[in-house]
Amino acid sequence: MLCDECGQREATLHLMAVVNGKKTERHLCSVCAEKSHELEAAAGLKPDALLSAILKHGGEDGRREADSRVCSCGMTLERFHKEGRLGCPECYKTFGDVLVPMLQRLHGALAHSSGRLQPSVQDEPAPADEKPAESAIDALKRELREAIELENYEQAAVLRDRIREKEAAENDGFMA
């Protein structure tokens, strides 16, 4: 069986996770396993390692893309997965689509609910995008950015999955 990540080397590490009754499997070669910190997470059993293991296996469909998003504070998804801590308030916007399902698992709820008066927080207006002719994937990516700006994270998660599907379809076609 070939590695899920690189598709080249033989998979020697087989990880199975059952989260909320849903079973996911990942098969990695030793090189990709080392790169992705899977072994640390599996062996660690520290709360943040456990959290990051759940994060990785929870909403995945088997093929993981390298998510290179970096928040303005310097926090990356990879570091968050490892440490279980965010870097700054902006991280909630930057990584909103990942946080929403995670918060669903942690708290069983998404929306904040409190009767208290809140301080006024001014959201920055979304930057105007320049639009040359867009491909379907570009359009979806733009919608994803907009959804995040509007803090509509459920929609963002749906868009993210559709983008992945489209990109996967394109890649398969290319390699065939």
Binding site: L99, H112, S113, G115
Partner: protein, 339 residues
């Protein structure tokens, strides 16, 4: 607020030693403490000083200014967390003027407001914590979003940033082997129960902390209500089992209690572990009215003054293991005699 703020009073004090509500908040526009560079630290510092002026009479106790013993003593008295005590880089404590409350600075979040109450009074603690949080809100802009509520460093705290907890003495549940089932049942409703003293899964002195895990998707009032319901159930179970123990195993329990009393009040060298075990029995003895002459404040006074941090803080120097055990025994005797 003194270190020894616990003196054995409060509602349901026979089971609930104290209640605490913690509220986590962060400054808007700044990285969370573990990601702050020097500039961010200064900016946070300035905001903290404004809060100190308003709420603690300008008092801001830096961890770096305290001896390690003093910091340990504060942890022993449940006034700060271990993480706060260990943060000598930029950790601090704001004692709220005239209240049983304080704010830990630069723990995992910029601000961790804590309110304390003796006995089972989570509602009182919550009111005080929210009042303090409100005052803070009027002084500094806080990180908040409509979707996620108050933004915290760890997503497990986001939303209300609220942690309600109570310290419970559960000797009967322990003696009858009912702690495990209780822990499991509690886990199913979004709360946790863990031993306060001791390493890992140990629960020295049969003292446990009950607290909520969930902070998002429920209002503060809802979280309080579900916490209180669970706590009341545990209190009832503990009292019922204490009655049964006394009814069915009276001689055995009395013997155990009086032996522990004998050792606690007469031994010349006492380890922390021995103290916790004997004190648990003596507390139970107080509940069974076996020590009519003993003041109710004695167990809390002992825990406040006879653990390692407090003993060394008093002489402001390190003590060897043997010295600690001797000093502990002396301190206990003087407390029992009301000195």
């Amino acid at each position: 607020m003194t270190d020894s703020w616990l003196d054995g009073h409060g509602p349901d004090k026979d089971v609930v030693i104290s209640s605490r509500v913690r509220i986590a908040r962060n400054y808007a526009g700044l990285p969370f403490p573990h990601m702050m560079d020097e500039a961010a630290e200064s900016a946070a510092d300035e905001k903290t000083h404004v809060i100190a002026e308003r709420l603690s009479g300008g008092v801001c106790e830096r961890m770096s200014d305290m001896s390690p013993f003093r910091r340990r003593a504060l942890v022993e008295n449940h006034l700060i967390s271990n993480d706060c005590a260990d943060n000598v880089k930029n950790g601090a404590l704001l004692p709220i003027e005239g209240q049983l409350a304080n704010i830990m600075i630069n723990e995992e979040d910029h601000l961790r407001i804590q309110a304390f109450r003796q006995g089972f009074d989570t509602e009182g603690a919550l009111d005080l914590a929210l009042e303090t949080a409100s005052a803070v809100e009027g002084t500094a802009e806080l990180a908040y979003s409509e979707s996620f509520g108050y933004l915290t460093c760890c997503p497990s705290n986001t939303g209300t940033g609220l942690r309600i907890s109570a310290m419970l003495h559960l000797p009967a549940l322990c003696i009858t082997g009912n702690i495990s089932p209780t822990v499991q049942a509690i886990g199913k409703i979004g709360l946790t129960v863990r031993g306060i003293y001791g390493e890992g899964s140990e629960a020295l002195g049969n003292i446990y902390q009950l607290s909520n895990n969930i902070t998002l998707g429920h209002s503060e009032k809802e979280l309080l209500d579900s916490f209180n319901a669970a706590c009341l159930q545990i209190i009832r179970n503990e009292r019922l089992l204490r009655l049964l123990l006394f009814k069915n195993r009276r001689e055995e329990i009395e013997d155990r209690i009086f032996r522990s009393w004998g050792l606690l009040s007469n031994a010349m060298m006492i380890s922390t572990k021995e103290l916790m075990n004997w004190l648990s029995d003596v507390r139970l003895g107080i509940y069974y009215k076996l020590f009519p002459e003993l003041d109710e404040s004695v167990p809390e006074a002992i825990l406040s003054r006879a653990l390692n941090g407090a003993l060394q803080s008093r002489v402001n120097s390190p003590l060897s293991g043997s010295e600690l055990r001797q000093e502990r025994a002396k301190t206990i005797k003087s407390i029992i005699r009301g000195i």
